[in-house]
Subunit: 209 residues, 2 copies
């Protein structure tokens, strides 16, 4: 094994992966429109023309960033559409999605930027991430959620919990000081998990006044 | 009364107000960094140098937009810190804040941009809008919220409801298609009100499993 080979096997990240990492961070921070390929190249430490060897243009790079993020989320909330579910299953899936957004807040940030300012691939994001949650709402084992009765508001509750989980990470900088806790610390994660699970339990078990 | 006077009394909006309206829409859509004074001048239909007759620079204009928005919100949630409150009072204040963000989503959008991308005046926003909610948490008449017990999670519940109300308007474009309803319609507002009030009721009245 030559020195060159050794170096390659130690630094396993390809240039494409470095570009994707840099672009993910910049798109998540500033949004699609405010991020240039020159910004991305700067972070990677390459020249902008070299970037075109890996991605056709900014839109293609953004699409690749989104694909990688969506694939890396096991998307537990989006598997709920299939069949009857128990409270325990929903609880496990909620916990999993809270932990995933906490571990990598960039998907929520990119979605929030797209909702605020638009950008390419937004229809595709809706189709892949949001539509499955609503197209076939899960049936709770044993019937309707008593709190919601036959109000037809189950999709609104799904939206509320999805927003609750994502806005925790997208709004985090506003709260770290007033809560006296870094929202991305393990202690904050445990608090947020306890809170959202209590909320879900209340939704499922509260029988009405 | 001359024709000139008549014209002034009919068109009551001053140039400063037109500039504030244009800037509010642009900052809410694209965020602080991505909005230029030339963009604002274009929307108003004046030349950029004329804009400096009204506002010193972009940061001063952004500050004036924020001041106007914050003043126009009666900030009902932020009055909760004073004393013991009943569920009915909290419910009324939650309804009021949902209606205000629905009527003008730009404050929520600006706050979300600031949380994602930073910008001037962010510490002041936190001090004026967020700190009052947390500095002296309201006491519920009759003691702790049973669902939360003595977990110390009441501030986390305040954050959750604040995020829930604001993310409804900041994420709206992602859901209009899947809900089959414009989130800014009156019908959608009624659904959202019913949902968040049910959630609040469950939080206050659910006694735990």
């Amino acid at each position: 094994m030559t020195i060159a080979n050794l170096s390659t096997s130690v630094s396993t990240q390809t240039t494409s992966e470095k570009i994707l990492d840099a672009a993910e961070g910049l798109f998540a921070g500033s949004g699609y429109a405010a991020t240039s390929l020159a910004d991305v190249a700067d972070v990677v430490g390459i020249r902008t023309p070299s970037l075109y060897n890996h991605f056709r243009n900014k839109e293609a790079l953004y699409g690749a960033v989104l694909d990688r993020l969506i694939d890396s989320f096991s998307a537990p909330l989006y598997e709920l559409g299939q069949t009857e579910v128990t409270l325990e299953q929903v609880m496990g899936q909620l916990e999993s999605v809270v932990r995933q957004h906490h571990a990598n807040p960039n998907l929520a940030r990119l979605l929030q930027h797209a909702a605020l300012s638009g950008g390419p691939h937004t229809d595709e994001l809706i189709d892949r991430l949001f539509r499955p949650m609503f197209s076939s709402p899960s049936k709770l084992e044993g019937g309707n959620i008593p709190m919601l009765g036959d109000s037809g508001l189950q999709p609104w509750a799904v939206m509320a919990f999805n927003n609750l989980v994502m806005s925790y990470v997208t709004m985090a900088p506003m709260y770290s000081d007033v809560l006296g806790l870094d929202p991305f610390s393990e202690e904050a994660l445990e608090n947020q998990l306890t809170l959202v699970k209590s909320l879900l339990q209340a939704v499922f078990e509260y029988k009405g006044a």
